[in-house]
């Protein structure tokens, strides 16, 4: 479907699985209706709107698709069936995603029928390079198979803080991994990209926050692998996650994409808190997402040296003044024009400055930002409980942490590059999330990002007592994703195929 208007209408219903329920007879429909088909005229204005997007469904019937229609051809074979919601009140078609069905494998349909499933936000099917990328949430994974089912409910806030801080976070990586030596890296399924990961991470952050999505007044999405040259990821996130008040298909939220290699999202932490703190902004909460299907040329091609480290995933943080889990003590940012990594417009893969990306680029900026921040806040390395640095490979973050005087126990928890690879814009944020997963209240974290081009943001963050209170709503922890019995390991050829998408 290359028509913009048609695409917009299908996505509007299908991305969030919008449904409606008649207040009079309770009948539900998978669509937005102004009146009930049974009750007719008297039900006008009495239809409640529902989102099935956060719900758990049941796979009622299924079959195998071995010869998909043209647009689904890249998925090869997959299970397709009917999914019910609300005890069969609503029945929708759906495809089981995140599964590679091997050639010649017989699928036992009866074993799958009756299992619980959770909707996933994915690319709908393949289109031409010039077309709008179609998305849909009629893709499902089995509940508690890699992704735990998590209920989304709005929780009444307990405490208001003087200055804004981190309210919640969510990290999304895919079920697939490639393992080479001691490094495991997350690999997107073929229907995933930076957009779908951003939405999934944002969803997890909202669940963790227990926050009404309409209170999020600003969304920043940082990425260097947006599949569009022009068109924001943030608009999709805002619409699908219903950020800001919804009015006539429009969300009352300011949405913007940012770009600065791997620090496109960390850079916006201070903008988010500053905005919330500005008395006239009227914005109670802001969301920052770093998302990337980290790009690299295939091995052996120019720029292909990155191919050993690139991962896939998104990290989302929500900032606000209520129920803060970590306060921001201060920050320091620095920038210089250092071309150590770049991608020219229209080129599919980035180029890499080799040895030049080390000392004059990564180390110089990370060192500068961290040192200056610690000077500014009068901190010594022993005042810090955790140090998080950007992780382009396993060696760099360790080297700089040691140089800055941090001991292994201070940086060990944040090191996630060996579990997920370099997730680019979401990378240092993923490290921060891993620390927040395990940190105790009243602990200090220093996080320093790095973005090629080049610059660094360093933040000092202090956890609060509410950090541990909210953990019950964070089932999709970084550790859970790193050590998961449902991980699916793929070979190099499959990894490249999945990474290039549909």
């Amino acid at each position: 479907m290359s028509s913009g208007p048609i695409e917009r209408r299908i996505s509007y219903l299908g991305d969030r699985l919008r449904a409606s329920r008649c207040q009079l007879c309770g009948k539900e429909y998978f669509e937005l209706r102004d009146y009930c088909g049974v009750c007719g005229r008297k039900s006008f204005g009495k239809m409640d709107s529902l989102d099935l997007f956060y719900e758990k469904g049941k796979l009622e019937l299924c079959t195998l698709i071995t010869e998909p229609t043209n647009k689904f051809a890249k998925l090869e074979s997959y299970v397709f069936g009917l999914v019910s919601f609300h005890d069969g009140q609503i029945m929708v078609p759906g495809r089981i995603t995140d599964q590679i069905v091997p050639q010649a494998e017989m699928v036992d349909f009866s074993a799958l029928e009756g299992k619980e499933v959770v909707p996933r936000f994915r690319r709908r099917y393949s289109v031409g390079k010039c077309d709008v990328i179609p998305t849909i949430s009629l893709a499902f994974t089995f509940a508690d198979e890699y992704y735990p089912y998590q209920h989304y409910s709005v929780v009444e806030p307990k405490k208001e803080y003087v200055t804004p801080g981190i309210v919640s976070y969510g990290v999304y990586t895919s079920r697939f991994r490639i393992k080479e030596g001691s490094i495991e890296r997350s690999v997107p399924f073929i229907d995933e990209d930076a957009i779908t990961a951003a939405v999934e991470a944002g969803k997890l952050a909202l669940i963790h926050a227990g926050l009404d999505s309409s209170s999020v007044g600003k969304i920043y999405v940082g990425s260097e692998s947006n599949p569009y040259a022009v068109k924001p990821i943030a608009s999709k996130v805002a619409q699908v996650l219903k950020l800001g008040e919804e009015d006539e298909d429009v969300q009352a939220v300011d949405a913007v994409d940012t770009e600065f290699a791997c620090k496109a999202s960390s850079s916006m932490f201070k903008d988010a808190v500053s905005l919330i703190n500005y008395p006239k902004s009227g914005i109670p909460a802001a969301m920052v997402i770093g998302t990337d299907n980290s790009q690299s040329a295939p091995r052996g091609c120019p720029g292909g040296e990155l191919d050993r480290f690139v991962g896939f995933g998104a990290s989302a943080f929500i900032f606000g003044k209520h129920d803060v889990i970590a306060e921001i003590e201060g920050w320091y940012s620095c920038t210089s024009d250092t071309p150590d990594f770049w991608r020219r417009d229209g080129e599919p893969f980035p180029m890499h400055g080799g040895r030049f990306t080390g000392e004059p680029a990564y180390f110089k900026h990370v060192r500068k930002a961290t040192k200056k921040l610690m000077e500014k806040l009068n901190l010594r390395s022993k005042d810090v409980d955790y140090f998080v640095a950007h992780q382009p490979n396993p060696r760099f973050p360790v080297k700089i942490a040691k140089e800055l005087g941090f001991k292994e126990e201070q940086y060990r928890d944040s090191l996630q590059v060996c579990n997920f690879g370099n997730t680019y814009s979401g990378c240092s944020l993923l490290g921060l999330a891993a620390v927040l997963d395990v940190a105790a209240p009243e602990e200090r974290i220093i996080i320093t990002s790095y973005g090629s081009g080049a610059g660094s943001d360093s933040y000092s963050i202090k956890t609060t007592r509410q950090l541990t209170e909210k953990r019950a709503r964070q089932r999709m922890t970084v550790k859970y994703q790193a050590k998961n019995p449902f991980l699916n390991y793929v070979d190099y050829t499959t990894y490249r195929r999945l990474k290039m998408g549909m």
């Binding site: 019937l61 079959t63 998909p68 043209n70 397709f80 009917l82 929708v92 029928e113 009629l138």
Partner: protein, 400 residues
């Protein structure tokens, strides 16, 4: 009934791949056969009802009436529907209202001109949300079959018999097509072949369970009963006709194991025809898949829901050309059905009527059913989409 519509002549092309022929050539061939048989010249036509499902997509032909006008050099009213049954119902209304006395009804489809994209088109038009979710034209048949198995608790031996019964439907239809010179597949197949194809596809239904995509055209000339008697000794009357509709979105329907549209259309057309389904022993069913033939037998009320597979299994134990029905014989898809005769969507209904017409008149050649005394009525059942529309027409060689 005043102005009872009567079919006086039929014509059709062979179904299959017609790479070398334009759509216009196909309909011309079908119309000329009908014209020659009835002696009705083009100038005798007062209106034309043409059907095609996909010509605007497959051949980028948007105003089909225009090329039909060029072909016939006529400027009479012409309308386009999506199936021959729909065209016939509309034409019947006009004849019954006394508006026209002689009408051409035709159907045409040219699916192989877009063989590489036709499955996407079919699925998108048939059930858009299932298409967006990754469904294929075959998937809904398989899901409905699984719903059927579950609803009627078929396990073990019974489930095996159902699978064999479905295979036998394909075998029977291919055997019938061997005797049909117009059929797409004039060759016999075996139950083993059907099972082998299912195993290869790793799904409940395989290649031999589904109707093919086809090119073809069909035509018939419809007149009032008064006029019909002057044209032919053996007119075939349209005694009853009706259609019914259902949701486009298959998963949203209340009943996932049967087509409400088929049931409703059946009830209404037989009530209009004022005959009982028991009087019918000749059926042309819309077997887009083998399972659809089984479902149609239940939807149209010939067998109780959940039981048709038993009858089919028993009936086909040693090959016969009919199913057993209360001690009588029920002949189904004697032309090979959609499975073997072919399924050029917009022309398929015309082939179904063609077959009933020939059988009732005793002109079906090798396929002729040998039951002269009871060979009085026939019934066609056509679907549009996946049960979104259903048409049932009751045809008879005598007026009731």
């Amino acid at each position: 009934m005043r102005n009872l519509p009567a079919i006086v002549a039929v014509g059709r092309t062979k179904f299959g791949e017609h790479y070398g022929k334009e759509p216009e050539k196909l309909i011309e061939e079908a119309w000329l056969t009908a014209s020659k048989d009835s002696g009705i010249e083009r100038r005798g036509l007062e209106a034309c009802y043409l059907s095609d499902c996909f010509l605007p997509i497959t051949n980028k032909l948007g105003l089909e009436e225009g090329f039909l006008s060029e072909l016939t050099e006529l400027h009479v009213p012409m309308e386009v529907t999506r199936s021959v049954s729909a065209a016939l119902v509309t034409a019947c209304h006009a004849i019954q209202a006394g508006v026209y006395k002689t009408v051409l009804v035709g159907g045409i489809e040219k699916m192989t001109d877009r063989w590489d994209k036709i499955r996407d088109d079919l699925m998108l038009l048939e059930d858009p949300w299932s298409y967006y979710a990754g469904g294929t034209p075959e998937a809904n048949h398989e899901l409905m079959l699984r719903a059927y198995i579950r609803k009627y608790g078929l396990t073990g031996e019974n489930l095996e018999k159902l699978k064999i019964a479905l295979a036998q439907i394909a075998v029977k239809n291919h055997a019938n097509a061997v005797k049909n010179e117009y059929a797409q597949f004039q060759r016999a197949i075996t139950v083993e072949q059907v099972f082998k194809a299912r195993k290869a596809s790793r799904k409940p239904l395989g290649l031999y369970d589904f109707a093919p995509i086809s090119d073809g055209a069909s035509a018939l000339i419809l007149t009032s009963d008064e006029l019909a008697k002057k044209i032919t000794d053996k007119p075939v009357y349209v005694l009853g006709h009706s259609s019914a509709t259902d949701f486009l979105n298959f998963p949203a329907r209340d009943d996932l194991t049967h087509f409400i549209a088929s049931k409703t259309a059946m009830r209404n057309s037989f009530s209009r025809a004022e005959i009982s389904p028991k009087d019918v022993q000749l059926l042309e069913l819309y077997d887009q898949s083998t399972f659809m033939e089984l479902i149609a037998l239940e939807d149209l009320g010939f067998y109780e829901p959940g039981t048709a597979w038993k009858v089919i299994y028993d009936s086909c134990q040693d090959y016969k050309t009919y199913y057993a029905l209360n001690g009588k014989k029920l002949f189904v898809n004697t032309d090979g059905g959609l499975k073997a005769d072919g399924n050029p969507l917009g022309a398929t209904g015309g082939a179904q009527i063609f077959e009933i017409f020939k059988q009732l008149r005793g002109e079906a050649g090798d396929r002729q059913i040998q039951n002269e005394r009871e060979n009085r009525f026939g019934c066609t059942h056509e679907l549009e989409g996946f049960g979104t529309k259903a048409y049932v027409c009751v045809l008879g060689k005598e007026q009731k």
